[in-house]
Symmetry: C2
């Protein structure tokens, strides 16, 4: 079966795309994947413009192949001092148990790419082959500038309505993110009803109702999974969890150990770590969050300021169970090995499938 023309257009040989994974992907990982014939990616959503520039330049220094740079396009946070103070108070016993003091105030730690002129100018300067968006779309003038610079644009969708918005905005491909997927769920508005479409259903619904190339994400861990989503009509598979265990990943030891353990069999969607729904290995943080009413959780990414502080306090005492151990439902199928070897293995499995 010949691959989808999207691959030739972006200059990638294999329908194997590494998910951007802000905080976990690295220039070494992205370069290894792209050099092996897949599409490597780095997530720069947690970075300042300077930090993002460094990451992109570092990746470009390692590979001349196309890479995908991912940005978050969330609505800027709506602060609520009362909710935030109550959230700090609620988590204070956890800090106490690690002999730590929570921050007295929470900050909006990530700036949205939406209307971010400096970041846009930096992308026009560094010119990654692909720029992709999560949580929605940037402004029209940003899209126009990126497109005029010859950059190919992907957007993430969890429903047909979101995918149609990406199509109207003129994007080149849609990352169809199923409910199985690890990490942040790409819903544009996390407060809106969510049909929680699984990867299989979502990809098929979009394939039958949208004229754009699809990149399937969520639960794909091996060549059989890639072959399956190609049959559903996807141009490629995007895989995150599969790469978390690679030596090139920035995952800490607690995250790696959990992913390689029985803990991988249980993931859960939680808003308590960052403020947005994200799929995580069930751990001490997600357990604590089970009894928390949604209305008690501050807006994204304000919540993440406290989540990161709690994780740091816990890690300082050797407890890794409060980390953002993002993982998809296929986590037990993780195979830790160098990223280039993993791409080769996936390609061989795909050819055999």
């Amino acid at each position: 079966m010949p691959y989808h023309p999207l691959l030739a257009r972006i200059g990638v040989r294999l329908p194997i795309f590494q998910a951007p994974m802000a905080g976990t992907s690295t220039p070494a990982m992205a370069a290894a994947v792209s050099d092996a014939g897949g599409l490597g990616a780095i997530g720069v959503a947690a970075e300042s413009t300077e930090g993002a520039t460094r990451l992109i330049r570092a990746t470009q220094a390692l590979t001349s192949r196309p890479i995908n740079v991912n940005l978050f396009c969330h609505r800027p946070a709506v602060p609520d001092a009362a909710v935030e103070a109550a959230w700090i108070a609620r988590l204070k016993p956890q800090f106490d148990s690690f002999s730590a003091t929570p921050p007295t105030q929470l900050r909006e730690i990530y700036q949205s790419f939406r209307s971010n002129a400096a970041m846009t100018a930096m992308l026009l300067e560094t010119r990654p082959a692909i720029v992709s968006f999560h949580f929605g779309l940037p402004e029209e003038d940003q899209l126009r500038a990126l497109r005029q610079a010859g950059i190919i644009l992907f957007g993430s969708a969890t429903s047909l309505v979101e995918a149609q918005a990406l199509a109207v905005a003129g994007l080149d491909a849609v990352v169809a993110q199923g409910y199985e997927a690890g990490g942040h769920r790409g819903v544009f508005d996390y407060a809106a009803p969510d049909d929680r479409l699984g990867t299989l259903s979502l990809v098929r619904l979009l394939a039958r109702n949208l004229p754009l190339p699809l990149i399937a994400a969520g639960g794909i861990m091996d060549g059989a999974g890639i072959a399956a989503v190609l049959k559903l009509g996807a141009a490629a598979a995007q895989m995150g969890t599969a790469f978390v265990g690679c030596p090139e990943s920035a995952a800490d030891q607690g995250y790696r150990v959990a992913l390689a353990s029985e803990a991988a069999w249980h993931t859960t969607m939680t808003r308590a770590i960052s403020g947005r729904p994200a799929r995580c290995l069930a751990n001490r943080f997600t357990k604590m969050a089970q009894s928390v009413p949604d209305s008690a959780i501050p807006d994204y990414p304000i919540t993440y300021d406290l989540g990161k502080a709690l994780n740091a306090a816990a890690k300082a005492k050797g407890e890794f169970g409060f980390g953002p151990q993002w993982a998809g439902q296929g986590a037990p199928l993780s195979r830790p090995m160098p990223a280039a070897d993993l791409v080769k293995l996936l390609a061989a499995e795909l050819a055999a499938a």
Copy 2:
């Protein structure tokens, strides 16, 4: 690609299995599917032994091909008069709005197949080629008797732990039911934590960890979906929602109209209709249930007694929005046509995929 040996063993030509769907499938549907080369099925969980006998005999009168007879193996209901009275009181305003009176007491309307000697004897007498179980397993002596009669046994699983229990019990194949699937979720214990595994993840996890043939269920609506789950390692695809719109289905007009409308784009998992989690088109019943705490809902199938009464009261006034309009996430891809034509179309799409 040659099909899995399971198909030859059960004497079926195509990897297209119609889901049993108690209350919606009919002898005419099952016979049409089996005659077209798939595996037709009838769900007899809502029937007395006499009713089940009639359904099986009626199907056997229409086809000499293998059929699958499905039974529910839930734990018998635990009544709680206070919860049930409060549940009736909570739904009374809905009955009032249809000028109807709710029942004063709720009954356990379905007997479990577990320990049901009369039903077991009837199956030994009627000898369908396949008997399948939902919500768990019957007793060992029941399994032994059915197996000794040469009946092939399927069980339903939503997790590896459940699938392993089916393997230990010696079943012949596992229906891997993903979170996308319409109708009753097959979890053995609905009060236990549920990882909500999507079809893609579940099938792949089981394929890599279980020595039994798999039948994938959940979100599969067309030949591309069937081809995808075969790539994941399934022996066959089981499809329910795809057959609801067939003329042979017992679905009422309200259900058919909803399934063919924009309403198909939104399904939700609810326990409020029957007492067990089941995926339904979002309708007036599921909307009402959104604000209901789980603890307010009686045990299965006691809840269903009131759910059916409310639906009957609403339908008597022309309101179909309280029906158990079970549907999977692929519902918008439904194509109403005679069951035999649908099997032919699916087979052609699969061959082309």
